[in-house]
Amino acid sequence: MDDLKFRRSMLAEPNNRDDAIKAAIKSDSAKQKFSQELDTLEHKIAQAMHIPVPEDLANKLILRQTFASHQQQKRKTRVRLSMAASVALVMGLTVNFMMFSNTYKNLGDYAIAHVNYEASHFSNNDQPRVTLASLNEKMATFKGSFDSTLGNLIFADYCRFNGSNSLHLVFQGQSSPVNIFILPDDKDIKFVANFANDKLQGRSLNFNHSNIIVVGDKNEPIKQWQERVSDHITWSI
C-alpha cells in the first residue's frame, strides 16, 4: 500500500481499519507513528466536538411533547365524543323508526295479520260468553254502545291494533269466527274500505272518530255484518 493511499484512508476513516491497513501499520514504523498521532488527534477531535449538553434538555423535550400531545388528546376526545353522540342519535332515530313506525301499509293488511295471528285462540264452536252489558262497558272507551250483541259473541276485549288501543270482538260465524275491530280513527295508517287475501275478506267503515273493521272468511256475508254493526251502534257524541 502506497503512502498516499494509506494516509487518505486513515484520515477519512480512522476507525475503519481493514486488514490491508493493519498490515501496513505493522510493517512500517513511520505508518505506526502516523497512526498513533491520528489516534491522539481523533481523541482530541471527539472531545472538542462533545460540547456539554444542557442537563435538563431531555426533560424539557419530554415535557414539551407531553403538553403538545395533551392538547392534541383534548381535541381528539372532543371529536370522538361528538362522533359517539352522532352515532347514538342515529341509532336512536333508527330504533325509534323501526319500533314505532307502521309495518303494515293499510288497515286491511293489519287486520288480516291480526286475525291470522290469533286464529288458533278461537273456534267457531266456542260458546257465547260475553253479555251485552260487558260489551257496552268496554265500548264506553270508544264512546259508543250497542243495543244488541249482533250475534253470538264469543270474545270481547281490548287489543293492540297497530299501536293504538282497539276493541276486538269475535262472533260465531257460518263456518269460522267473524272478527270485528273497533279502533280510534288513526291518521297514521291508510284507510281501505275493502280488502281480502286468499282466505279472508274484510270491510272497514269510518265513523266520526272510530273505524269499525269486519273480517271473516270468504263465505261470510261481511257486508251484512257491517250493516248490522252500523244499525245497532249508537255513538254518545
Binding site: 476513516e13 475503519n16 491520528l38 477531535i45 466536538m49 434538555l57 431531555a58 423535550l61 414539551r64 411533547q65
Partner: protein, 171 residues
C-alpha cells in the same frame, strides 16, 4: 398510546445529546441548537409512527434537524456563514489544560468550511459510516471520503503547527 410515549422518551434519552451537539455544530449557537432539537423532537413525535426501524432513528432525526435548520434560513436570513468568536463560550478562566485545548480545537472546527465540517461531525458524533453520511447529505460516497480526509487533514496540520503559538497565547 403509552407505548408511543415510551418509545418517544427512549428516543429522547438515547439521542438528544448527539442531536444537540450536531445542531450546535450546524449553527454555533447553544440556544438555536436547543430550539432546533426541540422542533426536531416535536416533529419526530408527530411522525413517530412512520419510524419503523429503530436503528434508523438517529439518521432519521438528523435528517429532520437538517431540514429544520434549513427552514430557519428560509424564515430569516441570518448571516451565519461568518463564524463569530463570541458565540463560543464554554471556556472559563479556571479551565484545565484539556479544556483550553478543546476550546482551541473547537475554534478550528468551527472555522472549517461547512462542507467539511458536517461530514466530520456526523462521523465523530453520529458514528456513521462514509456510506451513511453520503445518504444523509445526499452526496456520493467518494465526495464524502474526500471531504472527511480534507477535514481531518486540516485539523491535523493545525494541531501539528499550533502548540508553540498556543503556548504564546497562554504564557
Amino acid at each position: 398510546m403509552a407505548t408511543k410515549q415510551v418509545r418517544y422518551e427512549a428516543l429522547v434519552k438515547a439521542l438528544h445529546a448527539d442531536l444537540y451537539r450536531y445542531g450546535y455544530w450546524l449553527c454555533h449557537d447553544k440556544h438555536i441548537a436547543e430550539d432546533l432539537v426541540q422542533e426536531t423532537f416535536l416533529r419526530a413525535w408527530r411522525a413517530l409512527d412512520s419510524l419503523k426501524d429503530e436503528k434508523a432513528a438517529k439518521s432519521w432525526l438528523i435528517t429532520i434537524l437538517r431540514r429544520e435548520n434549513a427552514r430557519r434560513f428560509e424564515r430569516k436570513r441570518f448571516d451565519m456563514s461568518e463564524y463569530e468568536e463570541a458565540t463560543i463560550s464554554d471556556v472559563k478562566a479556571t479551565s484545565s489544560e484539556q479544556e483550553i485545548e478543546n476550546y482551541w480545537l473547537r475554534e478550528k472546527i468551527a472555522k472549517m468550511p461547512e462542507e467539511y465540517r458536517e461530514p466530520l461531525v456526523l462521523q465523530v458524533i453520529g458514528g456513521f459510516s462514509g456510506e451513511e453520511i453520503a445518504g444523509i447529505l445526499s452526496l456520493n460516497k467518494n465526495t464524502v471520503m474526500t471531504r472527511l480526509f480534507r477535514a481531518r487533514n486540516q485539523l491535523k496540520e493545525a494541531v501539528d503547527d499550533e502548540p508553540k503559538l498556543r503556548g504564546l497565547h497562554n504564557g
